[in-house]
Symmetry: C2
Subunit: 370 residues, 2 copies
Amino acid sequence: MSAPAIPERLLLGPGPSNVHPRVLAAMGQPLLGHLDPAFLEIVEDVKAGLRRLFGTANDLTLPLSTTGSGGMEACLVNLLEPGDHAVIGVAGVFGERMCEVARRAGANVHRVDAAWGTPLDEAEMAAAIARSAPRVVAFVHAETSTGVCQPVEAIAAATREAGAYLVLDCVTSLGGLPLALDDWGVDAAYAGTQKCLSCPPGLSPASFSARAMERVAARRTPVQSWYLDVSLLAAYYGHQRVYHHTAPISAIYGLAEGLRRVEEEGMAAREKRHREAAGRLLEGLALLGFQPLVDERFRLPQLSAVRLPPKVMEIGEAELRRRLLDRWGIEVGGGLGALAGTLWRIGLMGENARPECVDRLLGAVRDELD
Amino acid sequence: MSAPAIPERLLLGPGPSNVHPRVLAAMGQPLLGHLDPAFLEIVEDVKAGLRRLFGTANDLTLPLSTTGSGGMEACLVNLLEPGDHAVIGVAGVFGERMCEVARRAGANVHRVDAAWGTPLDEAEMAAAIARSAPRVVAFVHAETSTGVCQPVEAIAAATREAGAYLVLDCVTSLGGLPLALDDWGVDAAYAGTQKCLSCPPGLSPASFSARAMERVAARRTPVQSWYLDVSLLAAYYGHQRVYHHTAPISAIYGLAEGLRRVEEEGMAAREKRHREAAGRLLEGLALLGFQPLVDERFRLPQLSAVRLPPKVMEIGEAELRRRLLDRWGIEVGGGLGALAGTLWRIGLMGENARPECVDRLLGAVRDELD
């Protein structure tokens, strides 16, 4: 009945990343009640920190009590009503997922596909938006299944021109790349805590523009999810402090500390650290025959998708990942969906975007391939 | 930018309760990936521990990545399709909430009301079930807004006779009272971690019968929530280990440790401890003029709702709760909904169901009323 020992891991997959001891220590603090003024002060700190990282003045910027995928659902089900049209860009698993979530909210989904490993075509997105008079346009900023960073501005402009609402998936970008929701004109965005913030999974930082909240207030039908209804959440996370559900107190302690670490470093230095680590990784991997999937202009620094050399395919890519985990304590990710079996996804996120993490992985891979 | 100090609190409200240091320490362990075999072993431990506490052999018994209110939504949206009829017992806030969630899932809700502070009338529930041919019957086992423990057997029998599916809210009962989902014939149940399990909030332990899973498989329409779709969750929490969302790893470490503590104590001893603490509390409060809201036969040991003596109303009940928090570091709960301002809800849950917690509260109240 004693607890199993937790093996030490270097988490270089697509998330979670390793959590800093300071964040773990913060989570170990005794609980406060979810309506305790001392806890609500911490919540206010978190909201302010998230606003800075998202690049927004949105009042309703909060940690949703769900994971990133639940954050996706929250953004889409609040803005969509049955029969609404939605234009969704699909260049990987998470774009696909958006379509599925939007369909389940009763939307007519117009998908715009791009080859996995490439960004969405901005002209195609603009054409689809002009054609279908959508309520919502949605796409992924940092596609975790391919390692592509999607430029936001042009699609955002087309969205605004059509009078639609823009939903942006920032799960893997928040805390790794600078975001500018207000400048871009994003109406609803969601993220995860277990990627570039290096906190445990379990919360979805999210932000809703005033315009988005007006849309929610003007709905003809109630939001299908009571739990994720942002007008109810606003009553707790706003100034009224009306009980809705019990917030995940310990996880919010951890997020507060994670955000404090980001602020201490500064977002510019943090982005630079991510870019340098990715450069070092791809250089080292190239010597071993791994080739990046994504054109340099669109590569995410925090997540590198790499095609595998013949030597890896001989051993078997899953077998080699298993060896890295068992013998070296290093986790890397395989391909998802259409890319399963053909590539690896290597995350250098948050605390792990450091040369020593890169070198530890390169040394292990070199050894295994020798 | 340094972290605010967390004041020490004795959490005697309706939840969260104080978390044991062993649970906090477990959450402080380094992260594993959500597909790491070492993590999946812990998940299996948690599933087995939850099965024992729920009193079920249900294969799909799991910690949902959401809080108790999200667990409510998960149970209802999986079993209900638009146009289905649902009979819901309402004797407090959480029964009300079930109606709202079921309506948002498109159900025709037939509510059976009971006075707050009393249990549902079993004959009325049976009559409503016989009348409306419901798909789902739902009620709350331990109503956190009133402190009533609802007997399950008779309503469960009427549900089964009508061929309906029974959803049971066990948020405040799991880990405080013995549960017997299989003997009772419950098809879907959900709970919280921050009540009698004395873990932080953020997960909803839940269980779905094989019969419930067959119903989900036979749906004509997709479950409206992708995030809470149990057939997708079964692919991760079952043997296939298909990625769905990233499980809240640290919270699951904590839950595993919380369940271990329950097993070490044994559920019978734990129930006895809760009953003794509640007895001591009500005896002591009676001397100060507080009277229990609920008839002895239906009182929850883990949560006592008490009517307030004139002395408290003179000071103001919210003001007195504020003084208890600020001067004594003790949190108790006020009334919710129709009972706001008229009573207190005092939780002696999990780790806090101990005579020393009772005495600390009684001493503080006595002092404040002197």
